[in-house]
């Protein structure tokens, strides 16, 4: 549960890769001599993970290492058979799904109210919200655990969901986005006799597509990447999320590198595929926050 403390940066979209321009020059740009090694270095850990994931244990214990002679698909099946991997995947999907939907609803409604409505108590409530933004998660870790315990949610998916239903950062971010919308829009709707909720649902929300996508991606990444909180809140293997499950899997298969890399690869596949499909939205979202 990392809480970014900086306001969203104003970010312009990255330029497209312009092949038409590059195609005009006859010879390849000399920059490739720097770009290619750089990207290979960055990809090495991932490529080596994939190579090891399809090797046999004997092949992984050669030094110097060599490429596998055949593809060991059974490693992936062995991960599923030897661990509650399916549970981890489903649990992560449930937790991130519920937390995502509730953040979209709660952050946008509260963000709208703080941006647009003048009412008694809003200033104080917003100030308290900002205060919690600055607090590192480690400070609230132990009391949150005690609160969750008093709800009887320890070792339960609810422990991962309830404290994350809304984030101060999300509310703050949505408030900034609502402030950027011209107020005339809602005034027109109000004069036409629409209620606050009607204006919010019918006029403003349809304009908030990109901010909501940003919020969705940031929420998803922070839940997906969360480790410390699940580590202290969950004990049973079948209640774990992917990150926590993967770390216990590593503890149980310390030197079986092909099995470990197969598990790591499978655990990262969903988010990497999502990233490749929606690269632009991901990059814009990450640029507007500090999530990792």
């Amino acid at each position: 549960m990392p809480y970014p403390t900086e306001p969203p940066a104003l970010v312009k979209p990255l330029p497209d890769d312009d092949l038409s321009q590059a195609a005009h020059s006859h010879r390849p740009s000399p920059w490739h001599f720097l770009l290619l090694p750089l990207s290979l270095v960055m990809l090495t850990p991932l490529v080596w993970m994939v190579v090891t994931a399809v090797s046999t244990p004997e092949e992984s214990r050669q030094f110097p290492p060599a490429l596998p002679t055949s593809i060991q698909w059974s490693n992936f099946a062995d991960v599923w058979a030897g661990s509650p991997f399916g549970h981890w995947l489903v649990n992560t999907a449930i937790v991130s799904g519920v937390v995502l939907v509730s953040n979209l609803v709660l952050c946008s409604t509260a963000g709208y109210a703080f941006a647009r409505l003048r009412f008694r108590g809003s200033g104080l409530a917003f100030m308290l919200l900002l205060t919690t933004l600055m607090v590192p998660f480690q400070v609230v870790l132990i009391p949150t655990l005690l609160i969750v315990k008093s709800f009887g949610l320890i070792d339960h998916l609810g422990a991962l969901i309830v404290p994350n239903l809304v984030t101060a950062f999300g509310v703050f971010m949505m408030r900034q986005f609502f402030l950027a919308l011209p107020p005339d829009l809602e005034e027109a709707g109000r004069i036409d006799g629409a209620s606050r909720l009607g204006v919010f649902m019918k006029i403003l929300l349809p304009l908030m597509g990109p901010p909501l996508a940003t919020l969705a991606i940031l929420t998803f990444l922070s839940i997906w990447n969360d480790f410390l909180w699940p580590l202290v809140a969950i004990q049973s293997p079948e209640n774990m999320t992917m990150q926590l499950g993967l770390s216990t899997f590593q503890g149980a298969h310390l030197t079986d590198w092909p099995l470990l890399m197969a598990a790591t690869l499978m655990s990262q596949l969903p988010v990497i595929v999502l990233f490749l499909l929606a690269q632009r939205v991901f990059v814009r979202s990450i640029a507007s926050s500090g999530i990792k």
């Binding site: 403390t5 940066a9 312009k12 330029p15 890769d17 590059a22 195609a23 770009l35 990207s39 290979l40 960055m42 990809l43 850990p45 991932l46 080596w48 993970m49 030094f63 110097p64 290492p65 709660l106 509260a110 109210a113 703080f114 409505l117 009412f119 008694r120 809003s122 308290l128 919200l129 205060t131 590192p136 480690q138 400070v139 609230v140 132990i142 009391p143 609160i147 509310v171 004069i191 036409d192 006799g193 606050r196 909720l197 990447n225 580590l231 992917m242 990150q243 926590l244 993967l246 770390s247 655990s267 990262q268 988010v271 990497i272 690269q279 991901f282 990450i286 640029a287 500090g290 990792k292």
Partner: protein, 314 residues
């Protein structure tokens, strides 16, 4: 004041009924406002504010998180000052931060400058740099455990190939923290690059053209024109990366567990051990508060210095 789409008999004349309309609007705003924020206020109150106060109280208690706590006044904070294991964790965290932040900031500046051009395949190059950002911390740490394995790791194989002896990395007390830096730079570089690329887009092209006309080389123009204009992005990155490196935990937990011989025990890892292995909830809360205060003070100093530097340059 009227809208073309409004039905003619939409309501009474706004001039005639003004006071009551205002009152009604005020009421409806208060009701709507609280209806909109009350779930959020309740949740943030319960999981944001209450724990902050509670943790502060805990830091003055001896508390095993199971039986009722015992008030011990400032004992936990006094213990902090005389605990060699805590000062070791502070030293490790400071060393890690002092190496990680500059390497990551300068690295992402250079890589962003490299990626900020239109060449064939730039999308591929960018994806290669960005993918580690979405790779989870545990997965990153598991991969690096394997890459940096002293006996069978591919990095040692590459080192041997160029005539360097095999290294211990995570198992060598002298190298473990640097290996952690290497791994986390891999994970964070793309984040810095995203921030810098976005900032580079806003550098006006005519400034660079003017510099070129004045006989400035592209390399000089980068350092003298672009880098100063990137100051806000740099300040944001330095602050953000510092906050995150002071809270380093996941990667340590999965790779070294604070070892070998305490060489990678950072503050949050020490906090975790105190709270959940030794059940010193009070002491762990004091560590958390010390960390909180350190982050606030360091961020404030960085903001102040950063603003002064960027004003001095103008």
């Amino acid at each position: 004041m009227t809208s073309a789409t409004a039905p003619p008999a939409a309501g009474p004349s706004p001039v005639h009924r003004r006071p009551s309309v205002l009152l009604r609007v005020w009421w409806s705003d208060t009701l709507a406002g609280w209806a909109f924020i009350s779930p959020t206020v309740l949740l943030i109150g319960l999981f944001g504010l209450v724990p902050v106060v509670w943790a502060f109280v805990l830091s003055f208690e001896q508390n095993d998180l199971i039986s009722p706590g015992k008030w011990v006044g400032l004992d936990n904070y006094r213990k902090l000052l005389h605990d060699p294991a805590f000062s070791n964790s502070v030293r490790n965290t400071v060393v890690y931060t002092l190496v990680f932040v500059p390497v990551c900031v300068i690295g992402s500046l250079l890589v962003a400058a490299l990626l900020n051009r239109r060449v064939r395949g730039i999308t591929f190059y960018r994806v290669a740099v960005f993918i580690p950002v979405v790779t989870s911390t545990v997965a990153t740490a598991t991969m690096f455990n394997w890459l940096l394995d002293p006996d069978f790791g591919v990095v040692n194989a590459a080192l041997n190939k160029v005539g360097i002896a095999s290294q211990g990395f995570f198992r060598d007390p002298k190298e473990a923290l640097l290996a952690i830096v290497l791994m986390t730079v891999w994970g964070w570089l793309g984040f810095g690059v995203i921030i810098y690329l976005a900032a580079l887009q806003s550098v006006p092209a005519d400034l660079l053209e003017a510099a070129a006309i004045d006989g400035c080389t592209r390399w000089r123009a980068f350092w003298r024109v672009e880098v100063p204009l990137l100051a806000p992005a740099t300040l944001f990155l330095v602050i953000w990366l510092t906050i995150n490196s002071l809270q380093l935990f996941d990667e340590i937990f999965v790779t070294t567990k604070g070892g070998p011989v305490g060489s990678t025990t950072v503050v949050v890892y020490y906090l975790y051990v105190q709270a959940f292995q030794f059940f010193n909830g009070g002491y762990a809360s004091a560590i958390a508060y010390a960390l909180f205060m350190a982050i606030l003070v360091i961020t404030a100093i960085q903001l102040k210095v950063g603003r002064r530097l960027s004003h001095g340059e103008r």
